[in-house]
Amino acid sequence: MSVVTNTTTIGAIDAPSRRNTELALVVFAVAISVFAYANVGLALNGELPSGMLGYGAGLALLGGVGHLVVRRFAKYADPLLLPLATLLNGLGLALIWRLDQSERFQALDTFVPAASKQLLFSAIGVGMLVAVLVVLKDHRILQRYTYISMVVALFLLILPMFFPAVNGAKIWIRIPGVGTLQPGEFAKIIITVFFSGYLMVKRDALALASRRFMGLYLPRGRDLGPILAIWAMSILILVFETDLGTSLLFFGMFVVMLYVATERTSWIIFGLLMSAVGAVSVATFEPHVQQRVTAWLDPFAGWNKVAASEQMAKSLMAFGSGGTLGTGLGQGNSDLIGFAANSDFILATVGEELGLAGMMAVLLVYGLIVERGVRTALAARDPFGKLLAIGLSGSFAIQVFVVAGGVMGLIPLTGMTMPFLAAGGSSVLANWALIAILIRISDTARRPAPAPSPSTDAEMTQVVRP
């Protein structure tokens, strides 16, 4: 431990593992969440909430287990990913519990408290992290399952078609005794594995064996064809299930990965053109989308007329009412948004009760996760790892942008959940798995290179013959 030059995630020979930093940050993240929980209780009932101890212990346990597993199985992993995810998950639990306390929701017939379920799913999510880290010793193993992942992803995407629509979107499957699941959340990760595996093999062919067409380099059909077909199929499935947010996510992820794999800017232009065509054509035949666009253009114009506009306007008013410093946890009225306040619109509660300051902090935490992901991709030594890491972090970034931009009125609302913050079992599980894979890749990337083994041929090769 003589020279510590830790300005890069690429480990020097004796790079520190940074596990103690991670532990300190996890403790910090748990503390913030527990304070948030206490804050809600004090604001609403004037006393510390009775479940605080259980909540704190539960969250500490989750963070602790995660940390120990990382320490044992991914010693050199990026020290920020786990604490950041723990912080968001803990904060999300406090926010969901806060919305559970809303008298307006409790008066509804359909009210079901979501916090305890979310805590259970967070535990399963951390279990997922443990499982991934224990079972997946090296992320390159995933390459073997390129085509299996393709089949699994398509299966997961098609599955909800056989179940009834919930709130207009056919993205749910109902398993008796377990509840509802959103297979699309998992499909997101699995299809990334497929894209990475396929693109890693075909990247040279895609980049080099191309024909020039109207100033763009287009690859040969046999190279691009299969991936284009799979991708188009998933988008179509999602459009038919009216899960527009996820199809946008798939599209963005696909373009990003293709661009990284081929290093050709023309893919960006090509992708943008295609997405424009796709967006316009979907918007013309989907009244659902038209409503969302109208609501986005002038949310207040549709007050008392269109439910989408009203929800959008209520979300904006929640943000505005929060102001710079917010009303304080438990003291806002973000539950006025009503339906989906604790899932799609949970950021409105952050905006109102934690204010601009809290929102910026939360957005920066998301930004940091993405940044650590991209950094992992940069540091990864194998193209598969690079593609997988950028695919996962890119999709994470796009999801955050689409959801946050949607509820803040920056782009039309498409309906996806905010990773970790929003109530939703599948989302929490899938995102913990995503973090676990990133941790695994970063561990491999930062792991010190093994000392070069003494070669018997060394002397021979050093002989320079005149």
């Binding site: 943000f319 102001g323 991709a377 890119g394 942008f401 931009g405």
Partner: protein, 485 residues
């Protein structure tokens, strides 16, 4: 592959930056606009989150606030004896807005008014619970009760003023309503309000301020004032130039008196005592439309009065000669509010000086410190002191041994004038019984009253005004005088 990765990193950075900028735009730049947006229910929630200040009569609150359980609006307005005070306070409903004092003084009552800025800032530091300020009214509880008791089941209105200051002492309108029944925002509140709105007797109409009636013979006091002010007659005990029968100008219709009363060339005092139509009709015709309008203007006619609650304008319009002559006895196109006739009586009692009527004496901060105190102000000089005293003598005769004997109060000098206003097509509907009066004690006049009862008895002109309305006026005046003792 690192070059495109770096570009993707920049792209992700731009995404996050865009979110941050949008967030600042929403929560910093547009925060005020969104916070106070008309669709933002938080404004209403905040409004009802703390107790509303009270409206105070005789040092006691006539309103209150109760905590509710059934909605996110925490406090609801209640009224102690709602029907009695509704014509003064108006209503304040979570669902249906507010009216009258509750509406006009809303800033003070909610505590949001700029006048309370200092107080608010102070309580922010002391950590005191937010509360609204109070409105202290000029009303006299006994007089108000007397007015309501007198009106009873009948439709009508009573306004009592303090002639010296213009303070409103009683403001009654019947039938009344209880604003408490629709102060909340439940379905039941909505039903109750609908019921009130559909009621044929219009209980929510403030008859004292917002209904104009033909003034009937009470208007003869105004005509007499115009005659004296314009020098048509000087001596109230000198004979007037009043033939009997007298035919309306430009027509062949004779103007009739009620019954066989001595009206031929009667003196002003006598004409008012028995209420001669011929004498005052001719007087109005002699003066002409323009001079009559001028005189009514000086009594406050032809424009709205703000007490601060708005009262409809009483009107004396431009008209042709026969109509102008009829208007002189209050039976044509001129119409007045009960408040206006109370102002006429009070201007005469106050030696010609008409004071601005008001009902808010003081606005208080939540800690009871006054932030505003009303100073009485003169609205206009209705007539000279000398002429006012002449009319006082005439009106006192009316009560002493004329049509207004029902208004007598032992030991107190009372002046008054009765009236029964015909209305409807060919006077087919039941006439309105009127009485205007003032009382005088050793230290001036403490009270002037106007009473109108809509379902008056149609038998005889002046007797019904005297019979129906005068006792109410007497009780109100007595209540005011007794409460001063």
């Amino acid at each position: 592959m690192n070059k495109p990765l770096r570009r993707i990193a920049i792209f992700c950075g731009i995404l996050v930056l865009a979110l941050l900028i949008r967030d600042n735009w929403l929560q910093y730049v547009r925060a005020d606009e969104l916070t106070s947006h008309k669709y933002n229910r938080r404004v209403e929630i905040e409004r009802y989150a703390h107790e509303r200040g009270d409206i105070i009569v005789d040092g006691k609150a006539i309103t209150g606030s109760v905590e509710t359980e059934d909605s996110d609006f925490r406090y609801k307005r209640v009224w102690k004896n709602g029907p009695l005070w509704a014509p003064v306070t108006g209503y304040s409903s979570q669902a249906f807005d507010s009216s009258q004092l509750e509406n006009l003084e809303d800033g003070i009552l909610t505590g949001n008014d700029d006048q309370l800025f200092f107080d608010r800032t102070l309580s922010m530091f002391t950590g005191e619970k937010k509360r609204g300020g109070n409105i202290v009214t000029t009303l006299n509880g006994d007089a108000q009760k007397a007015a309501f008791k007198g009106l009873g089941e009948k439709k009508g209105a009573v306004v009592a003023l303090d002639p010296k200051s213009g303070a409103i002492l009683a403001l009654a309108s019947t039938p009344s309503y209880d604003p408490s029944v629709f102060a909340g925002n439940s379905l039941k509140d909505s039903d109750n309000r609908q019921k009130l709105l559909k009621d044929e007797d219009k209980p929510m109409l403030n008859r004292a301020l917002r209904e104009t009636y033909p003034p009937g013979s009470t208007f003869k006091v105004v005509t007499a004032a115009a005659a004296l002010e314009n020098g048509l007659y000087d001596d109230i005990d000198a004979k007037t130039d009043s033939p009997l029968p007298w035919t309306l100008p430009q027509s062949t219709t004779p103007l009739k008196n009620e019954g066989n009363i001595p009206c031929e060339n009667a003196t002003l005092r006598e004409a008012l005592r028995v209420s001669c139509n011929t004498v005052f009709g001719k007087m109005s015709d002699d003066l002409g439309n323009k001079k009559m309008i001028e005189q009514t203007d000086r009594f406050g006619f032809n424009k709205e009065v703000f007490t601060p609650v708005r009262a409809d304008a009483s009107i004396y319009p431009e008209d042709n000669r026969p109509q102008n002559a009829m208007a002189g006895i209050g039976q044509a196109s001129n119409r007045t509010t009960p408040l206006q006739m109370a102002m006429v009586a009070s201007a005469i009692a106050n030696d010609g000086k008409l004071m601005q009527p008001y009902m808010v004496a003081e606005r208080q901060a939540p800690n009871l410190d006054p932030v505003y105190t009303h100073e009485p102000e003169e609205l206009s000089r209705a007539l000279s002191g000398e002429n006012a005293q002449k009319i006082q003598q005439m009106m006192e005769t009316v009560v002493k041994d004329g049509t207004g004997t029902n208004a007598r109060i032992p030991g107190v000098t009372v002046g008054g004038k009765t009236g029964t206003a015909q209305h409807g097509l060919n006077n087919s509907e039941k006439p309105y019984a009127w009485f205007i009066s003032y009382a005088k004690t050793d230290d001036g006049s403490p009270v002037a009253v106007a009473v109108v009862v809509e379902d008056g008895n149609a038998n005889r002109d002046d007797i019904s005004g005297g019979g129906l309305a005068a006792p109410i006026a007497r009780d109100v005046m007595k209540a005011v005088i007794d409460s001063k003792k």
